[in-house]
C-alpha cells in the first residue's frame, strides 16, 4: 500500500472507531457516576497511574528542563537575549511540555498496561464472569481507571513542572553562569496562574484520553494473545495522537483571546 492509502485507511479507521468510543465513554461515565463505586479499585488505579509513573515522568521532566535551557541559550545568545531563558523554561514547561510529555509517557506506561490487562480479561472471559457476579464491568473496571487518569495526571504534571524548572535552573546556574537567586526571581516574576492552570486542565484531558483509549481497546479486544497485542499498540498510538490533537484544541480555547 502506498503511504497515502495507508493514511486514508488510518483516518477512516479512526472515524469509524469514534462512534463506538463516544458510546463507550458515555456509558462508563453515566453508569460509573451513579455507582455503586469501588473505592479499592479507584485507589489501586490512582496508585498505579500516579505514584508508579513518578520516576518516568520525573526523569523526562528534568532532562527536558535542562535541554530547554541549553537550547534557548545557544539560540538566544545570538540576539543577546539570554535573560529570557528563565521565562522560556517556565512557560514551556507549564503550558506545553509538562502536560504533553507526561501525557505521552503515561500513554506508553499506563495506557498500554490497561489495554493489555482488560484485553486479557476479555479473552479469558473474566469480563463475562464479572457480569455473572452481578458486577457491571463499566463500573468496576472502566470508571475507576478513567477517574484515576483525570485525577492523577494533573498531580503528575505539577511535579513535572517543578522538576523541569529545577532542571533548567541547574543548567543555567552551573553551566551558563546565571545567578541562582535572580534566576529563581525572574522565574516566579514571570509565572502566572493561568499558565499553570491551563497545563493542569490539559493534563486532566490527557489523563482521561489515555485511560479511555486503554480501556476501550482492551475491552473490545478479540482473538487471543494477538488480539491483546493489537489492542495495546492501538491504545498507545491512538492516545498519543489524541493528546497532540486535543493539546492544540485546549491551547486554542485558553490562549486565543
Amino acid at each position: 500500500m502506498n503511504p497515502l492509502a495507508l493514511t486514508g485507511a488510518a483516518v477512516l479507521g479512526i472515524v469509524s472507531t469514534l462512534g463506538g468510543l463516544v458510546t463507550f465513554a458515555l456509558r462508563a461515565l453515566s453508569r460509573g457516576i451513579v455507582g455503586p463505586w469501588y473505592p479499592r479499585q479507584i485507589l489501586r488505579q490512582m496508585l498505579d497511574i500516579g505514584y508508579y509513573s513518578l520516576p518516568v515522568v520525573g526523569l523526562t521532566a528534568i532532562f527536558t528542563g535542562m535541554v530547554l535551557a541549553l537550547q534557548s541559550y545557544t539560540g538566544f545568545s545570538r540576539f543577546q537575549a539570554q535573560s529570557a531563558i528563565p521565562n522560556i523554561v517556565v512557560l514551556s514547561m507549564t503550558r506545553e511540555l509538562g502536560p504533553v510529555l507526561a501525557g505521552l509517557m503515561v500513554a506508553g506506561r499506563v495506557g498500554a498496561s490497561m489495554a493489555a490487562e482488560l484485553g486479557t480479561m476479555r479473552v479469558t472471559e473474566q469480563i463475562d464472569a464479572l457480569s455473572t457476579l452481578s458486577t457491571d464491568p463499566y463500573r468496576y473496571l472502566v470508571f475507576p481507571r478513567l477517574l484515576g487518569g483525570v485525577l492523577m495526571l494533573p498531580a503528575l504534571v505539577l511535579v513535572a513542572d517543578v522538576i523541569g524548572i529545577m532542571g533548567g535552573w541547574l543548567v543555567s546556574t552551573v553551566k551558563l553562569g546565571f545567578n541562582p537567586v535572580s534566576y529563581v526571581n525572574s522565574t516566579f516574576g514571570f509565572l502566572s496562574t493561568g499558565d499553570v492552570v491551563s497545563g493542569l486542565v490539559k493534563a486532566a484531558v490527557f489523563g482521561f484520553l489515555v485511560c479511555l483509549m486503554g480501556c476501550y481497546q482492551g475491552y473490545m479486544s478479540r482473538g487471543g494473545a494477538q488480539g491483546v497485542g493489537t489492542a495495546t499498540t492501538r491504545a498507545v498510538v491512538a492516545a498519543s495522537i489524541l493528546i497532540l490533537t486535543s493539546d492544540y484544541i485546549v491551547t486554542e480555547i485558553f490562549f486565543s483571546h
Binding site: 479469558t124 472471559e125 473474566q126 463475562d128 464472569a129 457480569s131 455473572t132 452481578s134 458486577t135
Partner: protein, 263 residues
Amino acid sequence: MAARETKISVKGLAKAFGRNHVLRGLDIEVEAGTSVVVIGGSGTGKSVLIKSILGIVEPDAGQILIDGQDVLAASRRQAQALRGQIGMLFQGAALFDSLPVWENVAFGLMAKAKIPRDQARVRAVETLEAVGLGEPVADLFPAELSGGMQKRVGLARAIATRPAILFFDEPTTGLDPIMADVINDLIRSVVSDLGATALSITHDMASVRKIADRVAMLYEGRIIWEGPAKDIDASGNPFVDQFVHGRADGPIATIQAPQRRAG
C-alpha cells in the same frame, strides 16, 4: 414426581458466527429443582447455548424464558434481575487473576449479597473446603494454581452465593477421577439439598450418570434426544449410542467440518 414449574425454557434458539451456523432452532426446558446435562461433540455449541442464556452471546433468533419471563424482550434491569439468579462455572474457570483465590470466591458474596469482607472470607474458605481446597490456597493467586484447582475455585465461586440456578461448563474436565467424583457429589448435593436448578455440560459419561436427572444431546444445532438419565443406555438413538459408548464409527462424522449451511 409431582409436576414442577419450568425454570428455564429455550425456544427456537439460533446463533450463527458468520457462516458458521452453530445453533439452528434449539429447544430445551429445565424444570425447577432438576439437573439437566447437555452432551454433544466438541464444537457443537454447548457453551454458546449457556452463554446465550447468560446474555454473553447475543442470539440471532429465539426465546429464552427464565421463570416464564422472556429475558431477550425484557428491560436491561429486568433481564439483569432474572440472570442474577444464575451462578456460572466457565469452561476455562475465568478467575480474576488480579485477586487472591478467596476474593474470587467471595466476589459474589460481597457484590451481590453485600456481606462485609471479613465475613465473606470465612464463607469463601468454607466453600473452598467443600470443593476439596481450603485455607492454604485462600491467599494464593489463580496463576499459582494447577488447572484442576482453578476449575474447583471457579466452582466454589459459582456456588458461593447459593444461586437458584447453576450452570456448569465441563465441571470435571482436568480433574483426577477421585476429585471428579467429589465434584459430582457436590453438584448433586447442591441440587438436591439446596433445591437449585442445574444445567451442566460435560463429555464425561461417569459425570452424566451421577449428576443428571435428564440428559439432552446437542447435534447439528438442535437437541436430537432428550430423556431421563436412566434411559441413556437404552435411548434407541444411534447418535446417543455412539456418544455414550465413545465409538469412532456411527452416524456422527468424526472429521468435524465447522457446521455450515449453504445460503
